[in-house]
Subunit: 436 residues, 2 copies
């Protein structure tokens, strides 16, 4: 039985979860991977009160773990892309296998790290980097390996989904729910990446790379945050039969790739529309399997640790028999990844939800619908609310037919130049997906 | 690059799907498993008109495939447990790896076949045997390897789910929908195994073995079919806020295992309640991850072939580097599986739906509720319908609190001896699951 020694760097939410699983399930872990997989060394700048590290060597300098000749596998759980990048680079260069939960690191520096790992013939695995406890990377990379994947769409940021769910169910404002999410520990002290879509974009880039065999490109996705979604929009969406979710969408469009993260109206009867709170869900559409949907906890200490440990145990199993991780890191060897062009933002077609506030007087609606018509944009549904008592303004909500984004931009520009319009036009994308 | 030659036995629904994937995706399959994985030999008693086999050697005697010295991996897709058992046994004894989609074979003869495969140091994989295109075996065996699994529950027979969905949505009778399912090719000419729960029980036994580390025992599950479910029960269930699904349930109860397949009332707002038609869904509850749900096509030519090919490609990847499949077939080596006692049927506790037809006269309801009360069974909800014009009988529906099955049996026996009761008491189990 091969003996494999593990060093864990980082003792935060995920790190402490991994330590707990090794503390509690050591026998089960060894039995199931049939290898003597031992946690030996922890690198952490400070202790974590909830986590018993007494059985392990602990270093305050996390690089001690990389320098430890006994350590075969380095687990990077410190997050961020500066120290983590150095740490992973040095680990690979020292001939150690690496497991990480760091989506930003993989999305932004994955290409260089994967090339290094392939050269050094060490493993680099990151199941926990996307959708926490949901094994979406394994499913895409291994289970659907005989499929041509046409699309991946998911709720891949639990914080954002918690905020939208609370806003929709309790009619609360974005700021109010965000404050609660921070108090509950769902959102970071700086929640920017959760709110503006950066975190979801990192995860989407990793999924797209595996799904389509393209290099990682952290800057590729079109990105829109959830901070512009109002309870009013959630109510109108509901009235029209939709839920609003912050989706990451990756689609193959001919020989180009469409990558987007944005708040999205989804028909309420779709499975993914019912994934609420901090849950994540990923839909995968592929030619042989059709569609599969994976739902589960997208974050959290033990769910994410479960994914980290599955990577470690997969390595335990194969390194028992061979020195090389037989699974290509992104599904194919990195020199066989093929960059594909992105669909230009203007050419991305879709259905849109528009909300505008206009003067309540004759001719205004004719002006608006006329402008849309001039741009060849059809109206699928329209709601006009009577003015609030004492107000001379009415709210109009329009659901368009499918239209290229560039043409919609032009129509909105036209509308916003109408004197009868107050403020700017709120716009949200609509995705119907297939009925499953 | 290792060259691996594949022989496929069986050219039915799944076999023809596998051939199609090899015909259409040969380049992709080779690239992604980085092995020269070639289909070379097909064994089938007759051609399949929809399937181009011109590139391959075809034998009418399927055992020719096993005897072919060129073949490294035998794919068994003939179904059944007689010839298939001989075929797989001989393939293993000839030192060939085996991939199969045959749940009956694995559930009934898996213990002996796995022991043979371990002895011969060949792989035996069967992702396609459970839930078609949903990679539930890989997820349980690999992704959740660091978890103690407490329960698995799923809709794992697409035919049964199609029938119940149609009955519920269109108010049609069981016989009527079954005939349509047969015409559509969902149900076999002999649909007994789909209807009585045998097919689902086979799949459940495989899942339970991996989830709990227990030997396969095809006779373990308590089994109830869907042929006793009436449109009337589906309507009452709906009124009470439930859907009816044919579920396979495997639960760890202390040191015992509870295994059951039966029609089940599930609260309509649960995710699994919304899995309709031929879709399958599997929920897994485990200590680290919490709960994950996998949904997708549970049958069909290409979805099932997708799972067969993922097994082949996993083997392609590892056999590139080592002669041995490093993944224990049931999650742990078979000599480490530990049999656990089954919870006796009488002791399985749960909530029940009861429907009875009684004389519409004073005192009858008092008799019924009194009998339940004498057995210590509380009533959670009760519906009594006014008698149909001209009838002297009323239908009563009762939702009990949780009660052991043995005690309920006794109460039903008491009720059925009441002269006011007409016919027998209809009983269905209720499972609430956790809100996700």
């Amino acid at each position: 039985m091969t003996s494999l020694k593990i060093g864990v760097c980082g003792l935060g939410t995920v790190g402490s979860g991994v330590i707990k699983l090794f503390n509690n399930h050591q026998g089960l872990i060894q039995q199931r991977c049939n290898a003597d997989l031992q946690l030996v060394h922890i690198g952490a700048r400070r202790d974590n009160a909830g986590c018993d590290t007494s059985r392990y060597r602990v270093s305050r300098d996390i690089f001690e773990v990389v320098r430890d000749p006994e350590v075969d596998i380095v687990v990077e759980l410190i997050g961020g892309t500066t120290v983590a990048r150095d740490l992973v680079t040095q680990a690979i260069q020292a001939g150690k296998h690496v497991v990480t939960a760091n989506k930003a690191l993989i999305a932004e520096f994955g290409n260089e790290l994967i090339a290094l790992a392939e050269q050094a013939q060490v493993a680099l695995r990151f199941e926990a980097a996307v959708a926490g406890g949901i094994p979406v990377i394994k499913v895409l990379r291994e289970s659907l390996a005989a499929n041509v994947v046409s699309g991946v769409a998911g709720i891949i940021n639990g914080t954002g989904n918690f905020i939208l769910t609370e806003m929709a169910n309790a009619g609360r404002s974005f700021d109010d729910v965000l404050a609660e999410a921070q108090a509950l520990g769902y959102a970071e002290a700086d929640p920017t990446f959760d709110v503006d879509g950066t975190d979801a974009a990192h995860k989407l880039v990793i999924l797209a790379s595996i799904a389509f065999g393209i290099p990682l490109d952290a800057n590729a996705p079109i990105m829109e945050g959830i901070d512009t979604v109002t309870p009013e929009d959630l109510n109108f969406a509901k009235e029209l039969g939709f839920c609003v979710k912050h989706l990451g969408i990756a689609r193959r469009c001919g020989d180009a790739i469409d990558l987007r993260v944005h708040p999205t109206l989804i028909p309420s009867n779709r499975q993914i529309a019912r994934v609420d709170g901090v849950l994540n869900a990923v839909m995968i559409e592929a030619d042989a399997v059709g569609e599969i949907v994976l739902t589960g906890p997208g974050a959290g200490s033990l769910p994410t640790a479960s994914s980290v440990c599955s990577d470690l145990m997969d390595l335990g199993k194969v390194l028992n028999h061979t020195k090389i991780d037989p699974a290509p890191i992104l599904g194919v060897p990195s020199d066989q990844l093929q960059a594909l062009p992105l669909v230009p933002r203007d050419e991305v077609s879709g259905v849109w939800y528009l909300r505008l506030v206009v003067e309540d007087r004759p001719g205004v609606m004719a002006d608006i619908t006329g402008l849309l018509s001039e741009r060849g944009i059809s109206i699928e549904s329209l709601i006009q609310r009577p003015p609030v008592a004492g107000s001379s303004q009415v709210t109009v909500v329009i659901l368009t037919d499918s239209v290229a984004c560039g043409r919609l931009d032009a129509a909105i520009c036209d509308m916003e130049s109408l004197p009868a319009l107050s403020g700017s036009v709120v716009r949200l994308r609509v995705e119907s997906f297939k009925e499953v």
